[in-house]
Structure formats: structure tokens, C-alpha cells
Symmetry: C2
Subunit: 96 residues, 2 copies
């Protein structure tokens, strides 16, 4: 299981456009076979900072996702609406 | 529902100690009534960068958590093992 946290600062005037575009990405990503969860999240008190928080079965599922039509079409459009973006952080859960 | 993502860079020689201390915090936090999920995660390819990813029912549950014996006792010890820490990011999910 791999978790991705990708935090982005959106240009203030572009937040609504970003969310409208992201909706299709969220819905189609959730429908992918290797996806466990996929959400867009808004930082409390800072509505122009958004984060995708995603959980995938494995790296192969992420590779497939990164090559999908919806990802390759929508992600560059989202990128244009960002003021800045942290690199996506990939994590694995520590098992105790 | 409120999600917390807290990313920390641990002093290289302290990673095992951090995980051992964090185990009790994870287990006791998961047992709290308002907790939905609570995990410690390791950045892929960068094992000294760890992230708590948490989901709580509401702000009241977080306030209760922040006042628990396990949180107030263990968190300062974890802080001493960090080289740096991003401020905890609190998010709410965007509903489409």
C-alpha cells in the first residue's frame, strides 16, 4: 500500500476552476482498479492550499494511474493554476 | 471529518527510537473515541522522513486528543528526535 500526499498552493482567483477540473480526476481515479482512496482536501483556514491524499495498492497501480487519459489530460491543466506545489510525497505505512 | 498530515525529518541516528516511542502514541490514539485512523508513515527512499497521517471525527476530538496523557507525554520526546518538522496541516475533504 502506497500513500501519496501532494500539497499545492493555488492562485487565489483559480481555486474554483481547480476544484471543477479536479472533480473528474478524483472520480475517475477512484474508479481505477488499484485505487484504495483518493480525495482532494482543503487546508483549514487557508482555502487556496489544497492537497490530494491518495492510497494505492502498489507502485504498479500508480504507474498505471500516471499513464491514464484522465491523469495526463487533467494534471497539466491543474498545474497551470498552481502558484507553487510541493513535490508529491510517497509513503508506506510503518507496521508495528 | 478533519485530516492531519504532519511531516518530520528525524535525526538519522534517532529513527529507531522515534518509531519505538511512536508505537504507543499510534496505538493509544487509534483507541480514542473520535479517531477514525492514525498511522505513522515512512517516505519512500528517505527513511528518516516520517509522517503522521490522521483522520479525526471533528475538532473536539482533536482537542481531546491533544490533552491526553499519551499525547502530552510522548510528543515532546518525539520532538527532541526531529531535525525539522513542518507545521501540522489540518484539512477537510472537498465534497463533490
Amino acid at each position: 500500500m502506497i500513500k501519496i500526499v501532494a500539497v499545492m498552493k493555488i492562485k487565489a482567483e483559480c481555486v474554483d476552476t481547480f476544484k471543477a477540473l479536479a472533480r473528474e480526476l478524483v472520480e475517475k481515479s477512484r474508479a481505477e482498479e488499484g485505487n484504495i482512496s483518493y480525495s482532494l482536501n482543503e487546508r483549514i483556514g487557508d482555502p487556496a492550499t489544497l492537497a490530494f491524499i491518495e492510497v494505492w495498492r502498489d507502485q504498479a497501480a500508480i504507474d498505471t494511474h500516471n499513464a491514464t487519459e484522465h491523469f495526463t489530460r487533467i494534471l497539466p491543466k491543474l498545474g497551470e493554476l498552481c502558484e507553487s506545489a510541493q513535490p508529491g510525497n510517497l509513503f508506506t505505512e510503518v507496521e508495528f
